[in-house]
């Protein structure tokens, strides 16, 4: 079995290279190769994912062993990757039709799948980093093919993710140094002192891949500039899976991060801040895709919070939320793509009443939106309940933050659904039709999984999530295996929050008379208005702040450089030439001078020799 594991990396990569080598004039062949590759990938994954197997091959030396390990956790992620890769490729065959750089798009998509598989399966940190960084390149490429502004956004994402990957590199080097091995399954470190630094560096790498704050700001830009399937496959699903997968590996396997440590506190704080700030930004967006992209950031907060609690319920919730998020968020992005393709815009102020024209899309949207808002009985509800349970165990404030986030999430999706699908249909959208079948099938498939994971949540929990937890944590005794929420109190609180979101929406709608403006009373609330303005202008974007400082540092560096240049090119040269001309003047060609010099030298030498006697 183990010998087939590299197929998961080589098949997508070889297919990508094939696609790149086919000229742009040839139609349908690239699509065919891409679909074939993801299908093969899916089949191989389905065969392999249940088993425990390793594949190892000697590599560059210095402990860089090429070792891939398939076990229940990585198998689960690889399966999800293969599924999303397959569905998004099917979707893209129609969505991307006629767009530019088609070959590059499919190549990057397949390479991303291959790199994700590689990074997930790698059991050696150096090997994992190789695929991890590779993903950065493909993300750059995918965004860059998006259009005019895309290159700038691509650069931004490259810088942000590159910096955090650099932290990751440092963390890996440090962990490898402390442990004497780079084999992930052999690493075991405490979170204190130097290995605490390694922990933080690795966590930075993991959560920034997942898109957490403060490494998030390229995602909303990419939502506008990059091709839409990119959003559905990478920031929405693969990067979440990979980032949270690795976060779980760090906290559960590699480091003994346990309940009550500063490491746990740090993760929970990052989680809650990410939930709240991103969802606040999502609430005021007036663009379908951009609104979704902020939720892609916000929801990471739940996962980090869940894992950060370090209690079984929280961890299980965080990991369950990871897969749920990948499902409903990619589904949401795909519905966004349908709207973009059929109605020609994703600007919410120009949309409305699409419900009658695109009922299937709306249904999928509705399921996914209910999921993300945590409406029972969809999957998001159960994972959020688990996270709440864990958070409440660690502190009321974390629970309150998460619940507030839930309220705002629901409010923003009420606004989105209202603005896009309800209300009056616009004149220019009279001729809009439902999306073609290859786009509907992936959406329906994902939405069905959302429903399935909600109604029968014990299936994913028992088969995929619970085995991940270390056996000694007492996970099997948890009542979640039955599929019922843990606490009636929590459910009531959640329902109250959802009801409040509904009331809030109606209040806003009554006040402004428009779905898209339903959140304006929060947007223009006295205290928030100024902050929102600044955030909208990008002043609060950590990237811009960082770039501002980088510009300052580079200015200072430039001045230092000038100064050093001056030192070398002017001062030293001038001084040298001055000395040279002085020496030249001393050589006046007179015999007398030269003889005198020689005699003076003689006197000096004899004096020097006799001095010691």
């Amino acid at each position: 079995m183990g010998n087939y594991i590299p197929l998961l990396i080589t098949v997508p990569c070889i297919a990508a290279l094939l696609i790149l080598s086919i000229p742009g004039r040839v139609r349908f062949v690239r699509e065919a190769i891409a679909v074939l590759a993801v299908t093969v990938n899916l089949i191989v994954t389905l065969i392999l994912f249940r088993g425990n197997a390793t594949f190892s091959m000697p590599w560059a030396g210095f402990g860089f062993e090429f070792i891939l390990r398939m076990y229940h956790f990585s198998g689960f992620i690889v399966l999800a990757t293969a599924g999303f890769g397959f569905l998004v490729t099917i979707y893209s065959t129609v969505f991307m039709n006629g767009k530019k750089y088609l070959g590059q798009f499919y190549a990057y998509l397949l390479l991303s799948v291959g790199a994700t598989n590689g990074a997930v399966l790698a059991d050696n940190l150096a090997l994992m980093l190789f695929f991890w960084e590779g993903l950065l390149l493909f993300v750059f490429g995918m965004i860059a093919i998006g259009g005019k502004n895309a290159f700038k956004t691509a650069t931004k994402s490259f810088i942000i993710v590159g910096i955090s990957d650099l932290c990751m590199l440092a963390g890996i080097a440090l962990a490898g140094y402390l442990c004497g091995t780079l084999k992930i399954s052999a690493i075991s470190l405490p979170v204190a002192g130097l290995s605490g630094v390694a922990f933080v560096l690795l966590v930075i790498g993991a959560i920034s891949k997942a898109g957490s704050m403060p490494f998030h700001s390229w995602i909303p830009d990419a939502a506008i500039d990059a091709p839409l399937p990119f959003m559905a496959i990478l920031p929405a699903s693969l990067e979440k899976l990979l980032g949270i997968y690795f976060l779980a590996r760090i906290t559960l396997d590699m480091f003994k991060a346990i309940e009550g440590t500063w490491a746990s506190m740090l993760l929970m704080i990052i989680g809650v801040i990410t939930i709240l700030l991103a969802v606040m930004m999502a609430l005021i967006q007036k663009d379908y895709k951009k609104l979704l992209s902020y939720h892609a950031i916000s929801q990471v907060g739940y996962m980090i919070l869940g894992i950060g609690t370090m209690v079984p319920a929280g961890i299980i919730g965080g990991l369950f939320h990871m897969i749920n998020h990948a499902l409903y968020k990619s589904c949401l992005f795909l519905t966004g793509g349908s709207v973009e393709r059929q109605a020609g815009t994703t600007d919410l102020t120009k949309l409305g009443g699409l419900l009658r024209k695109m009922p299937v899309t709306f249904t999928c949207f509705f399921i996914a939106a209910a999921s993300i808002s945590g409406v029972p009985p969809f999957n998001g509800f159960f994972s959020k309940e688990l996270v709440y349970d864990g958070a409440l165990e660690r502190g009321f404030i974390f629970y309150a933050g998460a619940l507030l986030g839930s309220f705002l999430t629901a409010a923003s999706f009420l606004k989105l659904g209202h603005a896009a699908y309800l209300g009056t249909l616009r004149e220019e959208h009279k001729g809009v039709k439902e999306a073609p079948l290859p786009m509907l099938v992936p959406m329906i498939a994902i939405a069905s999984v959302c429903v399935f994971f909600g109604l029968w949540n014990s299936f994913p929990l028992r088969h995929f999530i619970q085995p991940i937890l270390p056996a000694e944590s007492g996970a099997p005794s948890l009542p979640i295996a039955t599929g019922a929420p843990l606490s009636t109190g929590l459910v009531v609180m959640t329902l109250i929050a959802l009801a409040a979101a509904l009331l809030n929406h109606f209040y806003g709608y009554k006040k402004t008379g428009s779905g898209v403006k339903a959140s304006d009373h929060i947007h223009y609330a006295p205290a928030l208005r100024g902050i929102y303005d600044k955030a909208e202008q990008g002043i609060l974007d950590p990237f811009n702040i960082g770039m501002h400082w980088a510009a300052f540092v580079s200015r200072v560096g430039w001045l230092c450089d000038r100064a050093i240049d001056w030192l070398y090119n002017v001062l030293i040269v001038q001084a040298s030439l001055l000395i040279a001309s002085g020496i030249r003047r001393l050589h006046n060609g007179s015999y007398k001078t030269y003889i005198l010099w020689s005699l003076a030298g003689l006197v000096f030498v004899i004096y020097f020799l006799l001095r010691t006697v």
């Binding site: 040298s576 030249r584 060609g589 030269y594 010099w597 020689s598 030298g601 020097f608 010691t612 006697v613």
Partner: protein, 477 residues
């Protein structure tokens, strides 16, 4: 056998001066070429025997003790290489056949003198051979009776005569102390009464005499004038080997065999060497005349050799010997390049040249190799020798000297690059458009020398183990 190295040049001189009239004048170049090649082959044959038997050849020549060891072989090999180069240059550079015939005679005499210096085993015969060499060179510099050359020759004679006085005085004092002039008895006499101020002063005086011969600062007044005023083949010979053999080799030999590496002597060497490095490098930076710049560069590079010697350690002396070898090769090469440029363009002022690489590709390319070796750029030979000297300085705790040596290497690179840019790089000046390579002699000489400097750099470990280390053990067993 060692006496052959003195006998063979004398026989060659006889053949050259056979009364055959015009025939011999015309054939003189080929006779001398054959002689130097023969002598090189002879050296190699002998060298291999010497290596195989690892014996020191001691012989007697008209009552003089002479001996040959690996260092002598290396130096004699260099003498032959540079003399051959000088001969090739002379074929083009000296147009008048009488003058050329005279010059060829002088080269042979000088080579006899230098061979004698390398094999001499007593201090007085050493002095005699030094004078033979020097007199040949006085005449050679003034050979074409140009006013500048006469002035250069006169400065050389004047300061050399001071050196002669110093050396003779010192020899006299040492002779009184030891009752003999052979290295061995002088050494034992100095060991017995090493603290005697008179003997120390005598050592100092002798060293100063050799400093004059070797052109170290502040005894170097004659050197830039003599180098730059001499005809091209003479400056090749003088700069490439004569100064090194008569000043530097003798200093190495005497310090090792007679004076001993006393702390005070080492300090004098270190100080004089470092002063030469600095003054030479900075003076070279300010020169416009190609050959004058090279002359100052020689002073600076000789400083490195003396500093290496001054460390008194096995590593430093090995570095000094290697730098001696390298310097003889690359400085000869640079003087050949300068001669070629002067031959083709009639110019010596670097500010009036430019872009000559496009018209004289071999000269341009070989000068780059010589430059890089001289400036100490890896992997050329000059890099290794400089690095060894600097490491030896550092290891022996002379940090300040080591730092100065490194910084001066930067200045070396600077003035050589300035030269390269002014002379060879860039676009050709319109008035120099018709320039061509100066002639096959220059081309052959430059290519062979460049090949040696590149080869010695690339095969550094081999050269170091099989040439430099044995030569070093001749000085410091």
């Amino acid at each position: 056998m060692p006496s052959l190295v003195i006998l063979v040049p004398l026989i060659a001189l006889l053949i050259l001066n056979l009364p055959l009239g015009e025939v011999m004048r015309k054939a003189s170049f080929w006779v001398a070429l054959g002689f130097f090649i023969f002598q090189t082959v002879l050296l190699f044959c002998h060298h291999f025997r010497c290596i195989c038997g690892s014996e020191r050849f001691i012989n007697s020549f008209f009552g003089m003790d002479v001996s040959v060891d690996h260092l002598s072989f290396m130096v004699m090999f260099l003498v032959n290489i540079v003399a051959l180069t000088s001969l090739l240059v002379a074929r083009h550079a000296i147009k008048d056949s009488d003058a050329r015939f005279n010059f060829i005679n002088l080269i042979v005499i000088a080579s006899a003198g230098m061979n004698g210096v390398t094999v001499a085993k007593d201090i007085f015969s050493l002095y005699v051979f030094l004078e033979v060499t020097a007199v040949a060179l006085f005449i050679a510099i003034a050979l074409q009776r140009e006013p500048r050359a006469l002035e250069g020759a006169f400065k050389y004679i004047l300061l050399s005569s001071i050196a002669t006085v110093m050396m003779l005085t010192s020899i006299a004092v040492l002779f009184f102390a030891a009752g003999d002039t052979s290295f061995a008895s002088l050494k034992s006499a100095l060991q017995v009464s090493g603290k005697s101020p008179v003997l120390l002063a005598a050592i100092g005086v002798f060293i100063c005499g050799l400093f004059i011969k070797g052109g170290l600062v502040p005894f170097h007044g004659w050197l830039p004038d003599a180098y730059s005023a001499a005809p091209a083949p003479v400056s090749v010979l003088l700069a490439g080997i004569v100064t090194k053999v008569s000043g530097i080799y003798t200093l190495m030999r005497l310090v090792a065999a007679v004076f001993g590496f006393k702390a005070a002597v080492c300090d004098v060497l270190l100080f004089g060497g470092t002063l030469s490095i600095l003054v030479g490098a900075f003076a070279a930076l300010g020169q416009k005349d190609f050959k004058r710049m090279l002359a100052y560069s020689s002073i600076s590079q000789v400083g490195y050799i003396i500093v290496g010697l001054g460390t008194g350690t096995a590593l430093g002396i090995a570095g000094a010997i290697f730098h001696f070898f390298n310097h003889a090769i690359f400085k000869t090469l640079l003087f050949v390049n300068a001669a070629a440029v002067e031959e083709s363009t009639g110019l010596r002022n670097m500010n009036k040249m430019g872009g000559l690489s496009s018209r004289m590709p071999v000269t341009g390319a070989t000068s780059v190799m010589a430059l890089l070796s001289n400036a100490g750029i890896p992997p050329l030979a000059g890099f290794w020798s400089k690095v060894i000297i600097i490491i030896a300085l550092w290891v022996s705790g002379r940090y300040a000297y080591a730092v100065i040596a490194i910084l001066a290497a930067v200045v070396t690179l600077a003035y050589l690059l300035i030269m390269q840019r002014k002379v060879f790089f860039g676009n050709i000046r319109p008035e120099l458009d018709g320039t061509k390579e100066a002639g096959p002699g220059y081309v052959i000489a430059s290519v062979v020398l460049a090949a040696i400097t590149v080869g010695a750099g690339i095969f550094f470990p081999y050269v170091f183990d099989h040439v430099i280390i044995p030569a070093r053990s001749a000085l410091l067993p």
